[in-house]
């Protein structure tokens, strides 16, 4: 049972931004041009949209945080928690909160009650889209105003991920949430360096410096976060000095052009999306391992990188993105070999070639690589009949199991188990009640999850699992299973 996987790009560029280094900061106002035409929700536990996620760490804190500028789980820092302890059995976590941390808007000092409220909200299906991450949380209790005790029902590979400054880990003001009622989701109240001032639908969000921020007053006085759906307009507004920082285009040519502009820095940074080519094993003839291997040999990953541009992409070396905890760079990948691909196809009974039907979004960052893949497969005698559809239709149709090949880009919380569980675990197979994004209908991650074999190969984050094979085996699981 298998999939053939990783094609493209461990892409370094989740967000490509350019920013003006000098004069735009007069009066200490930072003007940001972001993607999207509006906010979906300003409730950090609910929204998963990029345009919303960018703004949350400015307003909210977690109990712990990523070291600024990194997504490195090996260097997690205290945030609202000063310190924490974990029991011998790794089931009880006790966090000591900072004293004197104030919520924005006069909602008072942060206490354990706010943490209890926030984590319970994050674990609740109706109030959080991250609730699954908290399924092992048995209870969250306020021991005293500055101490929170979290009890787990089972060991969790990386529990700090649930209380970090990301998604469900953001801490909200209980008092504000209750007082604001229906307005709370669009009136965020946190403890972060910037306080929410106003939101104009389809236009912008305004933030101001939190003078009483516990790490000190920010150097920027005000942030205007403007929704600008058209990328060309964002670039023109930047040229005209109407924005100082904007969300760019994941394209090498664009990066080069912007980089040549005066007083401009183009920052291409990770962790980026990994684009996997999922081969749907429930559709014939992809149930035949030889056909899947032929496709793997036919796809030229380096060719794709050349097409997209090495400035914003690199060839992936595993099914888990580079930089994630649990990623390995020593996994086996198929080499580009057209002759071998043809030979495998002939062995599978397709000496004269075969035709596969696939659905792809019209969004260029996926459509264009898919067209390149289509051409690469053609050289091996595989005709890819592509149906290009609107983006939301693409998401719907691939979840209805209607595509034999699914090119899918995703970035997730940077631990391997999140990625593996969503894409390679049997319970995530699309079309099932618990289905998420297992488009290839594989079960290759099941043994790992059953045996808790996963995840923490870095010694300082090893919470007690004895790993005979760590996730450095990520892609190999796929291969081993496939030959059975």
């Amino acid at each position: 049972m298998i999939t053939r996987k990783s094609v493209l790009g461990c892409l370094v560029s989740l967000l490509v931004v350019a920013f003006l280094v000098t004069p735009g900061f007069a009066e200490n106002v930072l003007r940001i041009g972001t993607l999207g035409s509006d906010a979906i929700s300003l409730d950090p536990h609910m929204s998963t949209k990029t345009q919303d996620k960018i703004i949350f760490p400015l307003i909210f804190n977690g109990l712990v945080r990523f070291k600024p500028g990194t997504a490195d789980l090996n260097s997690i820092e205290p945030d609202l928690a000063e310190s924490w302890e974990v029991s011998e059995d790794k089931l009880v976590w006790t966090f000591k909160l900072r004293h004197g941390v104030q919520f924005h808007g006069g909602y008072g000092e942060l206490t354990a009650d706010d943490v209890v409220f926030s984590l319970n909200k994050a674990a609740e299906k109706t109030t959080s889209s991250a609730y699954k991450e908290y399924s092992a949380v048995k209870s969250v209790e306020a021991v005293d105003p500055y101490t929170v005790k979290i009890t787990l029902s089972e060991k969790v590979p990386f529990f700090l991920g649930a209380v970090i400054n990301y998604h469900g880990g953001f801490i909200l003001s209980k008092k504000a949430w209750e007082k604001l009622g229906d307005q709370a989701a669009m009136t965020p109240v946190g403890t972060g360096p910037f306080a929410f001032v106003k939101y104009h639908s389809k236009r912008f969000i305004e933030l101001k410096a939190n003078d009483s921020y516990f790490r000190g007053k920010p150097a920027i006085d005000k942030i205007t976060y403007r929704y600008m759906p058209d990328e060309a307009t964002r670039a023109l507004a930047f040229d005209k000095d109407e924005v100082d920082l904007f969300y760019g285009r994941r394209e090498a040519r664009w990066v080069k052009i912007q980089g040549k502009k005066k007083n401009t820095i183009v920052d291409v940074f990770g962790l980026g999306e990994l684009r996997n080519l999922h081969l749907n094993t429930s559709i014939k003839p992809l149930d035949d391992i030889r056909v899947r291997q032929a496709i793997a040999h036919a796809v030229d990953r380096e060719g794709l990188v050349t097409f997209i541009g090495p400035e914003v992409s690199s060839a992936a070396d595993a099914v888990v993105p580079a930089g994630y905890l649990g990623h390995s760079d020593s996994a086996m990948v198929y080499k580009h070999d057209i002759a071998k691909a043809k030979e495998l196809l002939a062995q599978a009974g397709f000496a004269k070639g075969l035709t596969l039907k696939a659905i792809i979004t019209k969004v260029e960052s996926l459509r264009l690589p898919m067209i390149v893949i289509q051409e690469q497969l053609r050289l091996a005698g595989i005709t890819l009949d592509l149906q290009v559809v609107e983006h939301s239709a693409f998401h719907k149709l691939i979840r209805q199991n209607q595509s034999s090949l699914v090119l899918y880009g995703a970035s997730r919380f940077p631990v391997a188990d999140v990625y593996l569980s969503q894409f390679f675990l049997s319970s995530s197979i699309v079309g099932t009640p618990t289905g998420i994004t297992n488009f290839s209908h594989v079960k290759v991650a099941d043994p790992l999850f059953e045996q808790y074999q996963v995840w923490c190969r870095k010694s300082n984050l090893d919470y007690g699992y004895k790993l005979e094979n760590s996730l450095s085996n990520g892609p190999l699981i796929t291969e081993k299973t496939s030959f059975k």
Partner: protein, 313 residues
């Protein structure tokens, strides 16, 4: 006259009903899922199903349709699925931006297009006629998003006369007008192209009529012949074209609002489509259909103002 207006408005009801019915069913037939937008790519089928149920999207479509119609006759467009806000409020917030943009575009198009059309007809087959016709052809051929980018490059980035982001504070009239110029020019160019072509051909036809020859034979001055006898009679088809293409203009305002980053119904419709916010999309279609009906009514009434014979009928 009042009776006529009331009759026309009543006739609009079945049109609106047909439009909203079509939109209601078509948007639901298109693949896509608002629950997926709210919960994101990592949501399981289970949680998506739960949210669809919470949003009432799993109920029989005919029940949803009935509820929508009941709310509609009460003047309530419902709440946005994604943002849980009243659609009436969401639309009211941005409607003034689209209305002023469209009106300014029409005004610019007519003010520039009509004299150019007349000029082109009077100097038929001259160099200036060809130039005007080529210009109007270009205006018709350019997609609004492309002409918008060119205008921004020329007047904002290089000349620095206007801002790139045309997002004015509605309370500041000066800022509103300043930020309206470029987007209105973008829309006006399209309208101008239509007006030039229709005014030219209509006037040419009129100028060939017998009564014009008679007027000439009577020795009337050219100016009087052109404006009193020619243009007045040539205006009816031009008004029809203007009325007809205001609908096209409203469509182009979607692209214009996006390129100039201007709030309005266009940006709203784009995000509603993208997010599969069925309720918001329906509400917007009701407003659009109503605007089109209104424009047609105004067009019909304008016929009467221009031509007394129609008024008498």
């Amino acid at each position: 006259m009042l009776q006529y207006i009331i009759k026309r408005l009543l006739l609009a009801i079945p049109i609106l009903l047909a439009v909203v019915t079509l939109v209601f069913f078509v948007v639901r037939m298109a693949p896509g899922d608002p629950a997926q937008v709210i919960l994101g790519d990592s949501a399981s089928y289970e949680s998506l199903t739960a949210l669809r149920s919470e949003l009432g999207l799993d109920r029989p479509i005919i029940v949803q349709y009935g509820e929508f119609l009941v709310s509609l006759v009460q003047g309530d467009l419902g709440d946005s699925i994604i943002r849980k806000q009243s659609i009436n409020t969401i639309i009211a917030d941005v409607l003034p931006y689209t209305v002023e943009l469209t009106l300014a575009g029409v005004l610019l198009g007519v003010i520039i297009g009509l004299p150019l059309g007349v000029f082109s007809a009077v100097y038929r087959n001259s160099f200036w006629d060809y130039l005007t016709r080529i210009g109007s052809l270009i205006g018709l051929s350019f997609p609004a998003f492309y002409s918008g980018i060119l205008l921004l490059l020329a007047f904002s980035v290089y000349l620095g006369w206007f801002p790139v982001v045309s997002d004015p504070d509605m309370g500041n009239l000066g800022e509103r007008l300043h930020m309206l110029v470029l987007p209105a020019m973008n829309l006006g160019l399209i309208m101008m192209a239509y007006v030039v072509r229709s005014a030219r051909s209509s006037l040419l036809e009129t100028l060939g009529e017998d009564y014009i020859r008679t007027a000439k034979a009577k020795g009337l001055p050219g100016f009087i012949i052109l404006y009193k006898h020619g243009l007045k009679n040539a205006l009816i088809p031009v008004i029809t074209i203007i009325g007809l293409y205001i609908g096209v203009l409203v469509g182009n305002s979607v692209l214009t609002e996006i390129v100039f980053n201007r709030p309005g119904l266009g940006k709203l419709i784009l995000s509603a489509l993208d997010e599969r916010d069925y309720n918001l999309l329906q509400g917007l279609m009701v407003i659009y259909a109503f605007l089109i009906v209104l424009v047609n009514l105004v067009t019909d009434l304008t016929y009467g103002m221009v031509d007394p014979r129609i008024r008498k009928q």
